[in-house]
């Protein structure tokens, strides 16, 4: 008889597996990092200086779009990481995990930590470009930014887990991605600011959890500078995104408490 595995040891094992797999699939590196980078360069340069951003700022669109691209990298990485739930089910790996004496919460936690680690690494790579476009981040901003990125990543993976678990095909996931996740990002202040939008759009943006994620990133990048005027405050932003993640973590853990034949592929 072996000891009870506890919550963290299995989560660590699953997280470690996630990260190892990632570095053995080159196409995934390109997908999660390359696409947002390309968006950023093309859309950012395309709109160039024709963009009238936040009131009073002389920001180029390339710069305005930069924090949103960071969040898009997190979102894409989270989507790719949770895609693998569907693959694991078809490949059989998942049933091996489900037959183990592991608390179900630990299975969700393992996926969240693994996915968030990968998302975080890619976002940090992109941060290297910040100085190149004239964003000089205050040291305090840096210190807060890194855990903030990790927090947003965890919340997004928790969301991805929740959706991916109920789907038996990657096509189904594509639909959710296009109808829920991408619009969520578009209406988060990543793409355009809240101020100039129609009222109904502003309302959606106000209840969109990702709005708070993007705002938190802006607060860190422009620590102590006026560019964040009009955004939700940093504490509110952090609370918003953390609450969102916590709710989805609990919902996901609840969802996988009992499995059915369909969940096993």
């Amino acid at each position: 008889m072996t000891p009870q595995p506890g919550l963290l040891n299995p989560a660590y094992a699953l997280c470690h597996r996630e990260v190892t797999r990632f570095f053995r699939q080159r196409s995934r590196i390109v997908g999660a990092f390359g696409t947002p980078l390309l968006f950023w360069v093309l859309i950012g340069s395309g709109l160039g200086n024709s963009f009238r951003g936040m009131a009073g700022s002389q920001m180029s669109y390339l710069e305005y779009f930069y924090p949103g691209t960071l969040v898009l990298i997190l979102l894409f990485s989270a989507i790719f990481a949770t895609f693998s739930i569907i693959e694991d089910r078809h490949a059989g790996f998942l049933q091996g995990v489900l037959a183990a004496p592991v608390p179900r919460m630990s299975i969700v936690l393992g996926k969240i930590l693994g996915g968030a680690t990968l998302a975080f690494i890619q976002a940090v790579l992109f941060l290297v470009l910040a100085p190149a476009i004239g964003i000089a981040v205050h040291p305090v901003g840096w210190v807060i930014l890194l855990p903030v990125l990790f927090l947003i990543a965890m919340s997004l993976v928790a969301m991805g887990f929740y959706f991916a678990w109920s789907l038996d095909s990657t096509q189904g996931y594509h639909a959710i991605m296009n109808m829920v996740m991408i619009p969520m990002w578009l209406l988060s202040g990543a793409f355009f600011p809240q101020e100039g939008a129609f009222v109904w759009v502003r309302w959606i943006m106000a209840i969109n959890p990702l709005t708070y994620g993007v705002a938190a990133v802006r607060h860190c990048l422009y620590w102590g500078e006026p560019q964040t005027a009009g955004l939700p405050s940093l504490p509110l932003s952090l609370a918003g995104i953390a609450l969102f993640g916590a709710i989805l973590f609990v919902l996901s853990s609840w969802k996988i408490r009992s499995t059915t034949a369909r969940d096993l592929g």
Partner: protein
């Protein structure tokens, strides 16, 4: 300690997929230390029962206990006692053999040098110690199956569940597998509970349960089951069968089944009664075959149809 309990005790298990009933009133025990085979055609309910016993989902009704513990209310304790080898590989092909086993060990609460020693030990037992650093995807099907078994045995379970363990193995690898399973039973006292659709694999089990269309239609050792047939099996290849079945059935007081375009029945001392049989036929048969009962005959005897005739409902 709890050796008084059966290794697996299945009581009145029913399972439904929506409207379709996959298992119906299945009841039997697996005794500690034996190799028990669940024999049946694909679609007969084997995999459903396997998944329920392995705690992947609950039966619609009925009760399953593993060493006395309920699979529903004490699922984590059951999981600790049990190793599971799935038919579809549960190994991650992108990871090495060692990485797969490490991940598995941690899921079962193992870590550090204890885990490392177990990994090396189990791989030695399945003869793959030199493949520790190889990616699973580069191994042959037989080797992957052996890693899968090593994985299932990492936490020293008292019961090993295996779903169609010979799937995808060539004949040589099957012989090796069975040599290893017998050794495991003798040396470690592990109880083995496996499903199979292969008659020759079923022959090697200590006891068998025959599952057909969701019902248990036979239970016993392979020889007990075959002795039930009480005689030899005659298969006649004939063109014109009208009325012949009835004639044979009443003259030889046996049951006659039509299968593969021929007639099949069981009688004692068939070899000495060929003339008697031929006289009952309106024409000379194309072929006449007399054989000892096989497990397939047991299946036909119990269900009235051939093993492979069973309809395969969508999974």
């Amino acid at each position: 300690m709890d050796d008084d309990y059966p290794a697996v005790e299945i009581t009145e298990v029913d399972h439904f997929y929506g409207e379709r009933q996959a298992l119906s009133g299945v009841t039997f025990d697996v005794r500690p230390g034996e190799i028990f085979g669940l024999l049946g055609p694909n679609g007969g309910g084997k995999t459903t029962l396997f998944r329920i016993v392995s705690t992947l989902f609950d039966a619609s009704s009925g009760c399953i206990r593993v060493f006395g513990m309920d699979t529903k209310s004490q699922s984590d304790r059951v999981r600790q006692q049990m190793g599971v080898v799935f038919q579809s590989f549960s190994l991650d092909k992108l990871l090495t053999v060692e990485e797969n086993l490490k991940c598995q060990g941690r899921l079962y609460g193992l870590s550090g040098s204890d885990l490392q020693e177990r990994i090396v030990d189990r791989l030695k037992k399945v003869g793959l110690q030199d493949r520790l650093k190889d990616r699973v995807g580069t191994l042959s099907g037989g080797m992957q199956r052996r890693v899968e078994i090593a994985k299932g045995l990492l936490h020293e379970p008292r019961l090993l569940l295996m779903d169609e363990p010979s799937t995808g193995l060539d004949p040589g690898a099957r012989i090796d597998l069975w040599r290893y399973l017998k050794k495991l039973q003798l040396e470690e006292g592990t109880t083995l509970f496996l499903t199979t659709h292969l008659m020759e694999e079923a022959e090697k089990c200590d006891r068998l349960g025959i599952l057909s269309q969701g019902k248990l239609v036979g239970l016993g050792s392979p020889s007990e089951l075959k002795n039930e047939i009480g005689g030899e099996v005659v298969t006649l290849g004939i063109q014109h069968r009208e009325g012949v079945s009835e004639t044979i059935a009443s003259a030889l007081s046996t049951e006659v089944h039509v299968h593969n375009g021929g007639l099949r029945f069981e009688i004692p001392q068939a070899k000495d009664r060929i003339d008697e049989i031929l006289k009952l036929l309106p024409e000379e048969p194309e072929s006449i075959h007399i054989g000892k009962a096989t497990l397939e005959d047991v299946f036909i005897h119990r269900t009235g149809h051939r093993f492979w005739e069973e309809e395969e409902p969508p999974a």
